[in-house]
Symmetry: none
Subunit: 117 residues, 2 copies
DNA sequence: ACCGATATGTAAGATTATCTTACATCCACA
DNA sequence: TGTGGATGTAAGATAATCTTACATATCGGT
């Protein structure tokens, strides 16, 4: 595998985060419904961590999942005033309407670039 | 399993994010060194997603991992991750399409205020 | 409506990863 | 030195994932 490095890096942050939280592998394993050796292997980078587990780890250690996977916390810059207006409008929509809109958006965009991308 | 719901939710966001990005499962599979059926099963919530994969998905779809796992978005002007997605899509629209959309939004919102809630 | 092309869902055996238990090692401290 | 807690690791049992193949949509053009 190629993202072995990435995995190792995640593993290292998980281990460090656990230590900083003052928890033992056993305590963590219990909270996560895992066996202790699994936690050990995860921290060694020998086992993958599922997305759900990652989320659970983040909660237990009180860190962000973004940190655990090595991402910088991201911010979306919406600098077009018209988009800000649109965003405000979007926030007023019901979830259901938002759903419809999101689907409509894909169609609209397809019409815009016509084959590009 | 207990986090089945969490998994399904992650799967749903992955699917939605892919669609908004305009990519097919096949294209995604290729970029991630996966077979297409794996992507299909992941989006159906039948397969776990590893932390590395999650990170890769986030990069391809241009969304945050925090959004994908359902965490509260980290300090954004627009606090609904789905809106961030929509906003990004809006930026890709032509001015003309954006105009139409803004008008459509008003109509949608009018519909919301009536029966629902 | 029909067609071909592309996208997606799904089945089944082969393959690989993970689990579970047990034992080994390390380290702090009395 | 020796005891207890924490962690690493091995090995067979178990479970998930892969890979290939086929089935079912879905969409655009005719």
């Amino acid at each position: 595998m190629e993202d072995q490095d990435h995995r190792k890096a995640i593993a290292a942050r998980l281990k460090e985060a656990r230590r900083l939280s003052g928890l033992s592998q056993g305590q963590v394993a219990q909270q996560m419904n895992l066996h202790r050796p699994s936690v050990s292997e995860i921290e060694a980078g020998n086992r993958r961590v599922s997305a759900e587990e990652l989320s659970h780890f983040a909660k237990i250690y009180d860190v962000s999942v973004a940190y655990l996977v090595g991402d910088a916390p991201d911010t979306l810059a919406v600098n077009d005033p018209r988009l800000q207006l649109a965003a405000r409008e979007l926030q007023k929509l019901s979830p259901d309407s938002l759903n419809k809109l999101l689907k409509a958006l894909a169609a609209l965009r397809a019409g815009d670039d016509e084959g590009a991308n």
